[in-house]
């Protein structure tokens, strides 16, 4: 029964995606929505991304210094592990998990409210493909802006690590710099960006699906918002395993 329910939902999700990827009726309107969504979903998330990345970068550096560093290891090890954690997992996967909470609930509640207040019906009556008009710009907007968020997150995380060196004096800035530069593999940056593109698609499409299929009133919109965050987070974690295996 549960499998039937999940398969039905997956089928509905695929149909919705099929409708969403239809050619926009008016490119001018699509571009307007696309820029608006990039701003609303991406640019408005920069603050929280920078804040969290700075502190997590600092915390990772302190933890590495206190728990990993030993006299038997080179002094650059803390900087090296901090960089690897930030690049490989935090700035892509964990940051996307955080964004699934912020952006995912935003998308699901916005579209869900439009559904229960008949705004989506109004679009349909006008002959507008409501799925394409509402969902496609959100997906494209978030996918476009996500690599920038990843880069900002990595950079700010490293700044946070430097803050522990300069302000907290947990380790010397020279050791940190040596660690950050040690055996740097540029592919890890690309890996992080590629993973984030997949996660951006998951967040925007799954949340849109939950919002679009709301039936009922404000309570259901709240439930859809919660379901969007939970489903997106689980899918991000599952796909992270496969993507890491595939890209490493």
């Amino acid at each position: 029964m549960l499998i039937h329910k999940y398969l039905t939902s997956f089928g509905k999700y695929l149909i919705l995606m099929g409708r969403s990827f239809a050619r926009p009726e008016r490119m001018r309107m699509f571009m307007k929505q696309y820029v608006k969504e990039m701003s609303g979903l991406g640019v408005d998330s920069i603050g929280i991304v920078l804040l969290i990345s700075f502190f997590i970068g600092a915390v990772i550096c302190i933890q590495m210094k206190l728990n990993i560093q030993s006299p038997w290891m080179p002094r650059w090890v803390s900087g090296y592990t901090t960089r690897e954690i930030l690049l490989l997992e935090f700035s892509s996967s964990i940051m996307c998990l955080i964004l699934a909470g912020k952006v995912g609930s935003n998308i699901a509640s916005e579209i869900g409210t439009m559904r229960v207040t008949q705004q989506i019906d109004a679009l349909e009556i006008m002959g507008v493909n409501s799925a394409s008009y509402l969902i496609l710009p959100k997906m494209m907007g978030l996918i476009t802006i996500m690599p920038f968020l990843v880069i900002f997150s990595s950079a700010t995380g490293i700044l946070g690590a430097y803050a522990t060196a300069y302000v907290g004096q947990v380790l010397s800035p020279d050791d940190l710099t040596a660690g950050l530069q040690h055996s740097f593999n540029p592919w890890f940056m690309w890996m992080s960006i590629i993973k984030s593109l997949f996660f951006a698609f998951i967040i925007s499409s799954v949340s849109s699906y939950h919002g679009y299929t709301v039936e009922g009133g404000s309570v259901e919109v709240g439930k859809a918002s919660t379901n969007a965050v939970v489903t997106s987070s689980v899918l991000i974690l599952c796909s992270d395993v496969f993507l890491t295996q595939l890209l490493s």
Partner: protein
């Protein structure tokens, strides 16, 4: 002309519409009346394609809307305007942009022409001053008027209104009724209104269809409705004490006149 033939709609085991057949007069104000839960909104949703009938036909100038291809349906919908019970304005857009929306999507006008057309529509519903306001900054009656302006922006052939007076005071309801009736005559639109407001029925109803528990119970003109002998219809109409008293006094007057004539 809109015609429905043997329309049935069920949700699972629950039958909501039972074998409804009727014709809506072109260029007139057609009213669908009935109690809450009688199936009026479901009927309207079937008419505009938001729901698919379980069986039956919805004919627009002889063409069945149910069996039309997706593309044909989209083209057909561009000839429709709809006013929802909740007005359904896009709350992220100001009033002017709400009215401009169908023009932005489907017209080939340039920006100035689109603004001018939207202002004309707002002027028609006496709302030019509110064009920069957002839907949550205006009253319910004004929201309905904006919805009317948006619905007529593309000069539709058919106008559907789902309980346009719900939640409005009697005076504002009259304004909305007059507006809908005026627009119907002015632009020669076929208007279909769902309502249970008896003021609307008596004021603007030209062709009235009474739905009772999912079935078409009565159809006629507003002039005939007061004299109808259909028990279900009279129970519905004279549910209010005021109308009941009006009917009683009317009957009394008629009786007195008859007696005078005899005398």
């Amino acid at each position: 002309m809109i015609e429905i033939k043997n329309l049935c709609k069920s949700f699972g085991d629950k039958v909501v519409l039972k074998d409804i057949s009727t014709v809506f007069d072109s260029g007139k104000t057609n009213l669908i009346i009935g109690q809450s839960g009688s199936g009026k909104t479901v009927l309207m949703k079937n008419l505009v394609g938001l729901l698919t009938p379980t069986s039956g036909e919805v004919l627009y100038d002889g063409r069945d809307f149910v069996t039309m291809s997706k593309k044909e349906k989209v083209m057909m919908r561009r000839e429709m305007g709809m006013i929802f019970q909740s007005a359904a304005l896009f709350d992220s857009l100001p009033v002017l942009e709400n009215v401009m929306f169908p023009l932005d999507m489907f017209s080939n006008m340039n920006y100035r022409e689109r603004v001018r057309r939207a202002q004309e529509c707002l002027d028609r519903v006496n709302l030019v001053d509110a064009e920069k306001k957002f839907p949550d900054e205006i009253s319910g009656g004004m929201q309905k008027r904006v919805a009317i302006a948006r619905a007529i922006a593309l000069n539709p052939k058919y106008l559907f209104c789902d309980e346009p007076n719900s939640g409005l005071d009697p005076k504002t309801s009259l304004v909305i009724d007059d507006l809908l009736h005026g627009i119907t005559e002015e632009f020669d639109i076929t208007t279909i209104i769902n309502t249970h407001d008896m003021n609307s029925v008596m004021g603007i109803g030209e062709n009235i269809i009474f739905i009772y528990q999912g079935e078409k119970e009565w159809q006629g003109q507003s002039a005939d409705i007061m004299g109808s002998t259909n028990k279900k219809l009279t129970d519905f109409i004279f549910a209010s004490d005021l109308l009941k008293k009006m009917k009683e006094s009317e009957m009394k007057e008629m009786k007195e006149m008859k007696e005078k004539k005899k005398g």
